[in-house]
């Protein structure tokens, strides 16, 4: 099926276009980097009749400090995040997604809102109490990311992720990010872990461990508890993983648990005393 292509320059133009195409009975999609859409379309796993390319809209391209917050638009590419490096934890996680050339096209919004369940770029945003701006028709809303993200982005029909805002205090907090693969330095992840220490408290988020990315306050509580031996912390944190551990071609459940234990140990060693 051939679809039509629009490249609006204003956010309202894009959201209204989406709405009008839906009213006509169409299946529009917002198109950022488009890498996943092009792939899924080629595999005939998605159908659409209108691609709304958002890359010419200034609001989704913002990438700067704004009144004490780091503002980043949904259409900023992962390479741009790495080059500008305003939020080192986000850089560290983003630069491990796909490969360098692919990251020239993959966008923050595309990674977070995509169908591929890794969505690693959301981990630093979950750890930093990010706010996100979304738009639908004429409505523009700002919410805590946690109210719009639970395993995946919870967007209403026609709603678009526009920007994320991260408070300055999180940008240079101590952190560690690790991506473990089955082998070598490229390919799909086994587990991606991100941790950040703020207000003397270690925060944890994972992708690739379960079938969805998550931040776990239960695991954090155990890891931050005083009076427990390291062994007890690791055992209890692993027991608090909030979902079924993946068991797939990238790695068995047992192997993932083994890797998780090592990652938690590394996080403790790196962040406990900073």
């Amino acid at each position: 099926m051939i679809y039509e292509y629009y490249k609006p320059t204003r956010l309202l133009e894009a959201t209204e276009l989406f709405r009008s195409k839906q009213v006509e009975g169409g299946k529009p999609l917002y198109f950022g980097g488009g890498t996943e859409i092009i792939t899924l379309f080629r595999l005939q796993e998605i159908s659409l009749d209108t691609a709304i390319d958002i890359k010419a809209i200034d609001a989704v391209r913002i990438h700067d400090m704004v009144e004490g917050y780091f503002a980043i638009g949904a259409a900023v590419t992962l390479t741009e995040i790495q080059t500008k490096n305003q939020f080192p934890l986000l850089t560290e996680v983003a630069k491990e997604v796909a490969d360098r050339t692919a990251r020239n096209k993959i966008t923050l919004g595309g990674n977070i809102c995509g169908n591929i369940f890794y969505r690693e770029a959301v981990l630093p945003l979950l750890l930093s109490d990010s706010l996100i701006v979304t738009a639908r028709g004429k409505d523009i809303n700002m919410n805590q990311l946690t109210s719009k993200f639970n395993e995946k982005m919870l967007l209403d029909d026609g709603e678009i992720f526009v920007q994320a805002f991260i408070e300055e205090k999180y940008l240079h907090a101590p952190y560690i990010a690790r991506k473990k693969r089955q082998q070598w330095d490229t390919g799909y992840p086994l587990i991606t872990a991100a941790a950040l220490k703020i207000d003397n408290h270690i925060r944890l988020a994972f992708s690739g461990l379960c079938a969805f990315p998550f931040r776990s306050k239960q695991m954090e509580a155990v890891l931050n508890e005083t009076g427990l031996s390291e062994e007890e912390k690791l055992n209890r944190a692993i027991a608090a993983v909030p979902g079924e551990i993946l068991d797939d071609v990238e790695g068995s459940k047992e192997y993932r648990l083994f890797v998780l234990r090592n990652l938690l140990e590394e996080i403790l060693v790196s962040l406990e005393r900073v």
Binding site: I2, E4, K105
Partner: protein, 156 residues
């Protein structure tokens, strides 16, 4: 900009020339380059963004042309391997025997050509960039040497 769901005439800037092509909006750049402009240097490999054989420059940045719609390239400058004229990286590939079957070579050359424009690129950056391309004849060592030679950084 609006491109309707039918064959539509668009203007692309490829290898320094303005080209008129009639495309449907969901046609990927790689196929427009190969089928409509007969620039067959960019290769279809995986068509999935994994192998890098289709890499072209878009506004001087390497892009996998299998993951880009041709309409996304409107108002941008596209350079394929045919657009390089005796670039240092091409000579270095020959000097270092940096290919065997040659299928992946145009993608590697385009990616490496962009890389050689970054004066402070170190070994880590070179490896990071080159990991975007796959060579099944495993000439990786020689390809890295070619990049270093083109940058004047190869210790002989």
């Amino acid at each position: 900009m609006h491109i309707p769901a039918k064959k539509t005439q668009i203007k692309l800037f490829v290898n320094g020339e303005e080209k008129q092509v009639a495309v449907i909006p969901n046609k990927i750049l790689l196929m427009v380059l190969r089928e409509d402009l007969h620039l067959t240097g960019s290769k279809p490999g995986c068509l999935n963004g994994d192998c890098g054989a289709c890499t072209v420059l878009v506004d001087n940045e390497p892009m996998k042309s299998c993951l880009m719609l041709a309409v996304e390239a409107i108002d941008k400058e596209v350079v394929t391997v045919e657009g390089l004229f005796e670039a240092p990286i091409q000579k270095a590939f020959i000097e270092q025997f940096a290919f065997q079957c040659g299928y992946c070579t145009p993608g590697f050359i385009i990616n490496a050509h962009a890389l050689t424009k970054i004066p402070n690129a170190d070994k880590e950056m070179i490896r990071e960039w080159l990991s975007s391309n796959i060579c099944r004849c495993t000439s990786y060592e020689e390809i890295e040497h070619a990049v270093l030679e083109a940058m004047g950084k190869l210790n002989k």
